[in-house]
């Protein structure tokens, strides 16, 4: 029992944070948004050069062979920077799914090199993200898994409030040439993909929450009203402290969910759901606190807070609505065993 990240895990997240600190500043985000392009190539190749595209792909297939717990802080960093590129969806969900379903597919190699990204649809999501810039689409249809060339699919853009999210609905002709896994084979893969999706969405929400508090703290230390920095008023202090408390008690849930994900039973699935709910709540509190602390500035386009507000809204129902996740926690609570001795238990231990 050791509830700490390893030095390697911390280091990899730090390297990414530093990279994004350089290449994903407010001005970078705004430039990308104005260009209308899907990604910043310099930033994206920096991420690919770290080997992160294949982070969760087994080493035998050319990836880094990392585990969810190794990737969770990376997803946090992506949230913290409001990263526009599909690092989390591509590396955290799609590539490991492709590697599992079709390890020999040549697209996997291309994706590991960063030459292409894979976009993934899932029954739990109403839309598919970043499909227009993807090299291939991983699509579920009647339980089967298909790998589809975007040119052979009809994509319809569904504009999200998040200026960096490129959502689409997709129509395509499923056939034996596109099918890469039968419904029976695909089911466990899709389940695992869903839990990775929800977990890393939760991790991004932690990053969003912390960045929102960070922005508010910085502003509250500078902005003066009635002769004092507004951060010296209890109303501001207490609201930000409360937001930070929410973050502090969402983080260990997200981290525990990452560590127990490979367990893939009801207990670990419920932990993922708990993580998504707790991180979503933390992000919601934090972005609203940040807007209030910024006053009218928080309602302006000029300040970055609204990027985080919008991303938090978008991720709130992405990879499972609150209703879905609360129901899954309910299933665990009402059918599983409760009490302090079961905090880290597996479902099978209690069967």
């Amino acid at each position: 029992m050791d509830f700490r990240f390893t030095e390697e895990q911390e280091m990899m997240a730090n390297v990414l944070r530093e990279l994004l600190g350089d290449l994903c500043q407010s001005s970078d985000l705004r430039r990308l948004m104005e260009s209308g392009q899907a990604r910043d190539e310099r930033r994206w190749s920096g991420i690919v050069d770290m080997g992160l595209a294949g982070a969760l792909v087994p080493e035998s297939y050319g990836g880094l062979g990392l585990k969810p717990v190794d990737f969770v802080r990376i997803a946090e960093a992506a949230g913290h920077a409001c990263l526009p590129e599909p690092l989390v969806e591509n590396a955290g969900v799609a590539l490991p799914l492709l590697a599992e379903a079709a390890p020999g597919n040549e697209l996997l190699a291309a994706a590991l090199e960063g030459a292409a990204t894979i976009a993934v649809s899932h029954p739990s999501n109403a839309f598919i993200a970043d499909a227009d810039s993807a090299g291939a689409l991983l699509l579920e249809r009647e339980g089967e898994l298909h790998l589809v060339n975007p040119a052979q699919a009809r994509l319809e853009r569904q504009e999200s409030v998040d200026p960096f999210r490129r959502l689409f609905t997709v129509a395509f002709e499923p056939g034996s040439s596109t099918r890469i896994a039968s419904a029976a084979d695909a089911a466990p893969m899709l389940r695992a993909a869903f839990d990775r999706g929800a977990l890393f969405a939760a991790a991004q929400l932690i990053g969003i929450a912390q960045r929102s508090v960070d922005l508010a703290v910085a502003y509250a230390g500078e902005r003066r009203q009635f002769g004092k920095p507004i951060g010296s008023y209890q109303a501001v202090k207490h609201r930000l402290a409360s937001a930070q408390v929410k973050i502090e008690f969402a983080k260990p849930v997200v981290h525990a969910a990452a560590a127990s994900l490979p367990q893939s039973d009801l207990y670990s699935a419920a932990r993922v759901s708990h993580a998504k709910l707790a991180a979503g709540q933390a992000a919601d509190d934090a972005v609203r606190a940040a807007i209030q602390v910024h006053g009218a500035m928080g309602y302006s386009w000029e300040v970055d807070v609204h990027f985080y507000l919008k991303r938090a809204i978008a991720l709130d129902s992405w990879w499972g609505t609150k209703a879905f996740h609360r129901a899954r926690v309910g299933q665990r609570v009402f059918t599983g065993r409760l009490g302090p001795e079961h905090t880290f238990a597996k479902e099978s231990q209690n069967a």
């Binding site: 569904q158 999200s160 006053g295 000029e302």
Partner: protein, 387 residues
Amino acid sequence: MDLHYTDEQEAFRQEVRTWMEANVPSAPLPSFDLSREGFEAHRAWERTLSEGQWGMVTWPKRYGGRGLDLIQWLIFEEEYYRAQAPLRVNQNGIFLLGPTLMEYGTDEQKARFLTAMACGDEIWAQAWSEPQAGSDLAAVSSSATRDGDDYLLKGHKIWSSRAVYADWAFGLFRTDPQSERHKGLSLIFFPLDAPGVRVQPIPQIDGETGFAEIFLEDVRVPAFNRLGGEGEGWSICMATAGFERGLMLRSPARFQVAARKLVDLYKAHENEVEPCVQAAVLQSWMDAEAYALSVYATASRLEAGERIGAEASTNKIFWSEMDIAMHRSALSILGARAELLHSAPAAGDVGRWLDGYFFSLAGPIYAGSNEIQRNIIAERMLSLPRA
């Protein structure tokens, strides 16, 4: 206590309803904050209202009103929102400045400004805040220097609603350069097309531009444009803020109509949402009703000669927090579609809930932040000691 409308009030309601049904544009007007075209369409609506003598029913007839009481005003507002009539582009004028002018203006000022305001010929922006004077309004530093019969205005205003397209603005200026805080301020009007005025739109969170910065560089206005005495700006401004937060800024009908729409949205998606959402929807309806009842109670007291007190602050807190809660409930019903812009093909009935949510988040900030309102309630209503 008599909670029944008189026959006269019922007849008045019918009269408003009939007129609204005949005159409210069938299609929504384009936003008055996004284009000159939308702004002018709303100005045209103000003129239509004014022609029907509906510009501001509580005003005296000589200024284009009907001299009606606050209960009738509430009835008018109810029918106005029921008819889904356009937002009032001249809100700053008719709800904020107008009542203040009525109280503090000279006869000449009333004649000059009120009629033009009521008929939509002159649309007003407010110019309260400055970069260093937001919640702390007494920190304004824009100056008005007397020069013969004129003032020369200089300074930088911000968060001025409607200023992008409006005709006139009113704001606080320091007429005594030696003064500090709330002393030595005067309330002065200036035309937004005067030489030396530069208006810079502020893009807001949803990309719209309802606010603007105003840069003033030796803008010459006659001293006639000063409301009240020199140095009396603060107390007049506080009276205006009382109106703004108090009764007229957010009429209850707005929230009752929103609550009805929320109930409709809930009914359409009842089977998809968590059971808890129902309680939230009912709470929104109850809150909108409570707000309406409270405003009727206040209006009754005001009609009986009492003055508005800390209700101004309690109202501001209540409606702004209710507005956020209502929109959050709507977004939770919309689920995965909540993030879609209403222009997205799959948006379905997402409507304007997301825009409304963003606007609601500004509610606890503008018109005196809710932190300031809570200070006011604590200190003036509860008599807790000042810090």
